[in-house]
C-alpha cells in the first residue's frame, strides 16, 4: 500500500491512458465509497488511483429530448435533488438513493455502483429495467454497452484494460411508463440488499401492459434481466393473475446462495414478493 500514486486527470482520454499504462494495477476513484473500504481492508493494493472527478463529462449530467445522459461519477444526492429526473426515472433514482447513508449519498455514483460489480448493487437492477446504456471509453475509442452487459460476476466487469464507464444514458420514456425498485434488508437502512427487484413497464390507453422489463438483484452472481417475468406482465392488465405469474417467474429465475445475509429459501421467496410489489408501484406510476 505504501507509495500508492494519485492522479486526477481532466479528460477521459488522459484517464484511460493512465489506466492502460498501469496494466491492471490501477483503480478508478469516483465516490470512493467502495474503493476506500477495500483499500483499508487490504482487499486491493493498486499502484495508481485515478480520480475521475476532475473530468467534467463524468461529473455532470444533461437532458436532451427527454433522454438523460448522466456522468458516471455524479453523486447520487445531486441526482435525487433534481425533481424532473426523479419524477421521470423514479425507480432508478430511488434505487441509487438507497445505497448507504446520507453521507454515502454525497459521494456514491451510478458508475461506481455499477463498476464495483456487486451482485447486490441497488441501482443496477433498476438501470437494467430502465434499459440504461453505458458509454464506455478506452484506448480504442468509445462504445455503447447495455448496463446488463457490464458485470460478468462478483467484482468482475467486461471492461477491457484502460476502459472506463463515462456516462449512463437513461432513454426518453414512452408515455404511460413507470419504473420502481424495491430491495429487502433486515434493517430499514445501512444494509446490503438481500434481494432487489427493479421493474419498468409501459401501458397502452386501455391499461394493458405493452412492454416490461424486470431485473432481480442479489439472487445470482450478477443482476438478472428476467424475460419470463416481463412475459408474465406483457399483454395483461397487470391484474392478480399476472402478479401471481410474475411472482412465480421471479422465484423460478432466482438462483441465490446461503450466506450471512440470507438463506436460499428466503431469497427465493422474497424475490417473488418484491417483484410483485415493485410491479404494483411501477403500474401506479405508469397510470398517473
Amino acid at each position: 500500500m505504501n507509495g500508492m500514486r494519485y492522479e486526477a486527470p481532466s479528460s477521459v482520454d488522459e484517464a484511460s491512458a493512465l489506466l492502460a499504462g498501469a496494466s491492471g494495477k490501477a483503480r478508478v476513484l469516483a465516490g470512493g465509497t467502495d474503493l476506500l473500504v477495500q483499500l483499508r481492508a487490504g482487499m486491493v493494493a493498486p499502484e495508481l488511483v485515478v480520480d475521475v472527478k476532475n473530468i467534467e463529462e463524468m461529473t455532470t449530467y444533461s437532458v436532451n429530448d427527454g433522454a438523460y445522459t448522466i456522468g458516471a461519477a455524479v453523486p447520487s444526492a445531486e441526482l435525487h435533488e433534481d425533481a424532473d429526473l426523479l419524477g421521470m426515472w423514479t425507480g432508478v433514482i430511488e434505487a441509487m438513493d438507497l445505497v448507504g447513508s446520507t453521507q454515502i449519498q454525497g459521494r456514491a455514483s451510478l458508475g461506481g455502483n455499477l463498476c464495483n460489480a456487486s451482485p447486490a448493487a441497488d441501482s443496477v437492477p433498476a438501470m437494467i429495467a430502465a434499459s440504461a446504456i453505458c458509454t464506455v471509453a478506452g484506448p480504442n475509442g468509445r462504445r455503447d454497452v447495455p448496463v446488463e452487459d457490464i458485470c460478468t460476476g462478483p467484482g468482475q466487469t467486461s471492461l477491457a484494460n484502460g476502459e472506463i464507464v463515462v456516462t449512463i444514458k437513461l432513454p426518453k420514456q414512452a408515455s404511460r411508463t413507470g419504473d420502481a425498485y424495491l430491495r429487502f434488508i433486515p434493517r430499514t437502512e445501512m444494509d446490503i440488499a438481500v434481494v432487489g427487484a427493479g421493474v419498468c413497464l409501459t401501458l397502452d390507453e386501455g391499461g394493458t401492459c405493452t412492454d416490461a422489463r424486470v431485473s432481480l438483484g442479489a439472487v445470482a452472481p450478477t443482476a438478472l434481466l428476467v424475460k419470463e417475468c416481463a412475459d408474465a406482465l406483457i399483454g395483461t392488465k397487470v391484474d392478480e393473475a399476472a402478479m401471481a405469474n410474475l411472482d412465480a417467474a421471479a422465484r423460478a429465475a432466482a438462483s441465490p446462495i446461503d450466506d450471512k445475509r440470507g438463506t436460499v429459501e428466503f431469497r427465493t421467496k422474497v424475490s417473488g414478493v418484491l417483484a410483485r410489489r415493485a410491479a404494483a408501484i411501477a403500474l401506479e406510476r405508469a397510470g398517473s
Binding site: 500500500m1 429487502f184 433486515p186 434493517r187 430499514t188 437502512e189 445501512m190 446490503i192 428466503f266
Partner: protein, 755 residues
C-alpha cells in the same frame, strides 16, 4: 415527573452536564485522541484459526524491518501458573486473562492475539505483522454451546474440570462449572399444577457495540514506572490488571482516564494496555494502540449465547406453583459466562414457592465473553418471560394480570436465597396497566407484548473527594469513569447537600493518583455508590464550614446551622450574626484553620434492587418476515431519579440495545469457525430509522439505604425487550419464536412452517 421534585432544589432536575460543551464541540479527548511526542504505533497480529496449536513463532523478519522498534509475543509475558491465577477473592483469573491477551500454547478463537509490534508508523507496523511467521497445527473447533458440551467435543483446556459436581470428574471438559439455585420442591410444585408449559430457547452471542474502539497510549520508563492514558470503565481496574499481569507494583502505574465512548460492560477488562506497556518497555518509547472495528468484534468480549429449557406450572387461577430453568451459556475461550446471574435473576419477578435454576458455564472457540449490561439476566429473561406469556395465553389470563397475581414484593423469597426488601415491581405493573399504549388499537399483523425484568444493582468500592475552593466553588473528584452522565448526577447531589447553585459545583474524574481505589463503572453503581460517598464528603465539608463560622463568631459549633448554602446562628440565643455564605467562609479559611476538603472511601453496600416492565407493539410483514417496532414503553423503578434526562436516556438506550438483540444482532460463524460479520455493516445494531420514540415512565420507590433513595438504572432496561418483542410477535401472528435473533429469514421460515 419533573413537576414534583419532592421538595428538592436540584434532585430531579435536568441540569446541563459539566462535560457537555466539550462533547458537543469535539474538544472532549477520548481514548484515540491522545498522543505523545515520539510516540510509536502498536499493532496486534491475530489468529486466523478458531483453534490451533502454536508450533512456533518467528519474528526475526519483522524485527529487522526498518522502522520496527519492538516485537512481543506471549514469551515476553510472565507465565501465570494455576496456583497464582487469582489474587485475593475477586476476579479476574489472571492466568486466563494473560492467555487471552496473548495466546501461549494454543490459539482458541479467530482473532486471538499471537504477537504485537511497535513501529514508527501504521504502514510499517502493518507490514511488520505480515512478516511474522506463525506455524499453526490446526485443531478441530467448536463454537456452539450444545456441541461444546457433547461427549466427543474438541476440548479447549486440558486442565479444565467441571466444578460444582460431585464426585469430581476424572477427565477434562468444556463445562467449566455447574451452578444450582433452588427453593422448595419443584417436583411437588409441578404435581399440583393444572397446566405446565415447557420449551427450549436459544440466543446467539452478541457484542456490546460501543462506537469507540479500544484505544491506549502507554509509556514505561527504564525504572519500571509507567503512565497509561486510555478509555475504560475503570482506570483502577486497568492499573490493577496490568500490575497483576506484568508483576508490577500497583504504585508504579498511573492511569489517566480518557473520556469513554461507550462500554456497556465491554470495557471492564484489558486487551491493549499490558501489551502497550511491554512494547513501550522494549522500545523505550511511548506506544499508541487503537483497535480497528474488525479487531473489536473478533478480539474483544461479546456476551454469551445460550441454550435454555424453561418449565413453568400454574393452577387454573394463575397461581404459579413451580418453575425450572436449565441454562447453558457459552463463555467463549475461557470460563466465566454470567450463567449464575441468569439463574439468580430469571424468576425473581415472581413469588414462587418452588423454583430450581441450573446453569452451565461452557467454553467454546469464540472470544472470551465479558459483561454486557445486566450480565446473564436478559438471556434468562428471554426464555422465562416468553414462558410466562405462553402460560398466560394457555390459561386465558391477561399477561399483565398473571404477572400481577404472582408479582414479587417485599418479603418474597428469591430462588438465590434472600427475601426482597422494599421493591417497586407491582408499581411498574400498575403503571403499565394504566399506560395509554395499552389501549392503542392494533391493526392486522400487529401485536402487543409485555415483559418484565429484575436486576440486583451493585455498590462496591468508591472513593471521592470534595474540595471547597478559595472562592467558595466546589470541586468534586471521583474515580469512576462517567459513561452516561454521572458527573451531572454527582454535581446535582453535591449542590443539593451544600444548598448552592449547580453552576458552583464541578465534577471531574480523577486519575489513579487523585483518589483511592474505585471499582469499575458497571452494575448500575456509580450514581448510587459514588453518590453516597460524595454526599458523605460534602457533609463533612459542611461540618468544617460550620466550624469556621463558629470560630468567626466565636460561638460553639452546635450553635451554628447550615441552610441554603450559608451558616446561620441556630436560634436567637446563639447570638445575633449575619449569615455567612459559602464564599464568605471560604475567603476566611486562611484565618480559620486552612483549606476545607474531605476525602471519603468506602465499600458502599445495599444497592436497591429494581424491576422494569416493558410494553412493545410490533407489525409483522408476513411476506418477508420483517418486524417493525411500532410503539415501545419502558417502565422502571429508579428509586429516585437524580437527573431524569439521563435516567430516561439509560432506559431508552437499554431498550434499543435489546431491540437489536431481539431482531438482528448476532455473531455469525462459518463452518471454518471464522467470524463472518466483524463490522457494523453485517453486525446490525439498530439505526434511527428502525425505531419509534421510546416512551419512558420512571417509578420512584426510594431505596432505603441511599440518602436520596437512588437505585441503579443502567442495566434493567436491556432485560425485558427480547421477550417483549417475541411476545408481541406471538400476539400479532400467533407464532412463538424461541430463537434469537428473530431475523427476517427465521420469522419467515416460522410463518411458512407454521411452527
Amino acid at each position: 415527573m419533573d413537576g414534583d421534585t419532592n421538595g428538592y432544589r436540584w434532585i430531579g432536575t435536568r441540569t446541563i452536564r459539566p462535560d457537555g460543551v466539550d462533547k458537543v464541540t469535539g474538544r472532549a479527548a477520548f481514548g484515540a485522541d491522545f498522543s505523545l511526542p515520539g510516540m510509536l504505533v502498536g499493532k496486534i497480529l491475530r489468529s486466523p484459526h478458531a483453534h490451533a496449536r502454536i508450533r512456533g513463532i518467528n519474528t526475526k523478519k519483522a524485527e529487522v524491518l526498518a522502522g520496527v522498534k519492538a516485537v512481543v509475543t506471549s514469551a515476553d509475558f510472565p507465565e501465570i501458573l494455576p496456583a497464582e491465577a487469582t489474587k485475593g477473592s475477586s476476579p479476574p483469573n489472571y492466568r486466563h486473562l494473560s492467555q487471552n491477551l496473548m495466546a501461549r500454547e494454543k490459539v482458541l478463537y479467530d482473532g486471538h492475539a499471537v504477537a504485537a509490534v511497535a513501529a514508527t508508523n501504521a504502514a510499517i507496523a502493518t507490514e511488520a505483522l505480515s512478516l511474522i511467521e506463525v506455524e499453526y497445527e490446526v485443531l478441530p473447533h467448536v463454537t456452539g454451546v450444545l456441541e461444546a458440551m457433547a461427549e466427543d467435543a474438541p476440548i479447549l483446556h486440558d486442565d479444565l474440570f467441571t466444578g460444582g459436581v460431585d464426585p469430581k470428574p476424572g477427565k477434562p471438559s468444556n463445562v467449566a462449572k455447574r451452578v444450582e439455585f433452588a427453593i422448595g420442591d419443584t417436583d411437588a410444585g409441578f404435581e399440583s399444577a393444572d397446566l405446565i408449559v415447557e420449551r427450549h430457547y436459544d440466543t446467539e452471542g452478541i457484542h456490546q457495540g460501543y462506537i469507540e474502539p479500544h484505544a491506549v497510549v502507554a509509556s514505561m520508563a527504564a525504572d519500571g514506572q509507567a503512565n497509561i492514558w486510555c478509555s475504560s470503565q475503570g482506570h483502577f481496574m486497568v492499573r490493577q490488571y496490568c500490575a497483576g499481569l506484568l508483576n508490577m507494583n500497583i504504585g508504579d502505574i498511573k492511569v489517566t482516564p480518557a473520556e469513554i465512548g461507550g462500554g456497556f460492560g465491554g470495557k471492564t477488562t484489558v486487551y491493549l494496555e499490558p501489551v502497550a506497556l511491554l512494547l513501550s518497555k522494549k522500545s523505550g518509547l511511548p506506544i499508541k494502540m487503537v483497535m480497528t472495528r474488525d479487531e473489536v468484534f473478533r478480539g474483544t468480549g461479546p456476551t454469551s449465547g445460550s441454550y435454555m429449557t424453561i418449565k413453568v406450572g400454574a393452577k387454573q387461577d394463575g397461581t404459579i406453583t413451580a418453575a425450572e430453568a436449565d441454562l447453558r451459556f457459552f463463555a467463549g475461550a475461557f470460563p466465566g459466562a454470567p450463567v449464575h446471574l441468569g439463574c439468580m435473576c430469571g424468576f425473581t419477578p415472581y413469588d414462587i414457592e418452588n423454583v430450581k435454576a441450573v446453569g452451565y458455564d461452557v467454553v467454546t472457540n469464540r472470544p472470551k465473553a465479558i459483561s454486557y449490561r445486566a450480565p446473564g439476566a436478559p438471556i434468562a429473561a428471554f426464555g422465562i418471560e416468553s414462558a410466562i406469556d405462553e402460560l398466560a395465553k394457555k390459561l386465558n389470563i391477561d399477561p399483565l394480570a398473571l404477572r400481577e397475581k404472582n408479582a414479587a414484593k417485599q418479603g418474597t423469597r428469591t430462588a438465590y436465597g434472600p427475601t426482597l426488601g422494599v421493591v417497586g415491581f407491582e408499581e411498574t405493573l400498575e403503571a403499565a396497566k394504566n399506560h395509554p399504549q395499552m389501549s392503542e388499537p392494533l391493526g392486522a399483523n400487529q401485536g402487543r407484548g409485555i415483559a418484565s425484568g429484575y436486576w440486583f444493582n451493585v455498590g462496591g468500592e468508591s472513593s471521592a473527594s470534595v474540595s471547597v475552593n478559595e472562592d467558595g466553588t466546589i470541586t468534586v473528584t471521583s474515580g469512576a469513569p462517567d459513561i452516561g452522565g454521572s458527573r451531572a448526577s454527582l454535581c446535582i447531589m453535591a449542590a443539593e447537600i451544600f444548598g448552592i447553585n449547580i453552576d458552583q459545583v464541578r465534577a471531574v474524574i480523577g486519575d489513579t493518583t487523585a483518589t483511592a481505589f474505585n471499582r469499575h463503572t458497571g452494575g448500575s453503581r456509580v450514581t448510587f455508590a459514588l453518590g453516597a460517598v460524595v454526599i458523605e464528603a460534602a457533609e463533612d465539608c459542611i461540618l468544617q464550614l460550620r466550624e469556621c463560622a463558629a470560630k468567626t463568631w466565636d460561638i460553639d459549633i452546635d450553635a451554628v446551622e447550615w441552610e441554603n448554602g450559608e451558616a446561620r446562628p441556630a436560634g436567637d440565643n446563639a447570638g445575633k450574626f449575619e449569615p455567612l455564605t459559602l464564599p464568605e467562609i471560604a475567603e476566611k479559611t486562611p484565618m480559620t484553620g486552612g483549606p476545607i476538603s474531605a476525602k471519603k472511601s468506602s465499600n458502599v453496600q445495599g444497592p436497591g434492587p429494581a424491576f422494569g416492565t416493558h410494553i412493545c407493539d410490533v407489525e409483522v410483514d408476513c411476506e418477508t418476515g420483517h418486524v417493525k417496532i411500532l410503539r415501545y414503553t419502558a417502565i422502571q423503578d429508579a428509586g429516585r431519579a437524580i437527573h431524569p434526562g439521563y435516567v430516561e436516556g439509560q432506559m431508552q438506550g437499554g431498550v434499543v440495545q435489546g431491540i437489536g438483540w431481539a431482531l438482528n444482532e448476532e455473531y455469525i460463524y462459518g463452518e471454518d469457525g471464522k467470524l463472518q460479520n466483524p463490522g457494523f455493516l453485517d453486525y446490525r445494531i439498530p439505526v434511527a430509522s428502525d425505531l419509534p420514540m421510546i416512551d419512558t415512565v420512571i417509578v420512584e420507590i426510594p431505596n432505603p439505604t441511599h440518602p436520596f433513595g437512588v437505585r441503579g438504572v443502567g442495566e434493567i432496561p436491556i432485560i425485558p425487550p427480547m421477550a417483549a418483542v417475541a411476545n408481541a410477535i406471538e400476539n400479532a401472528v400467533g407464532l412463538r419464536l424461541t430463537s434469537l435473533p428473530m431475523s427476517p429469514p427465521k420469522v419467515l421460515a416460522a410463518l411458512d412452517n407454521g411452527d
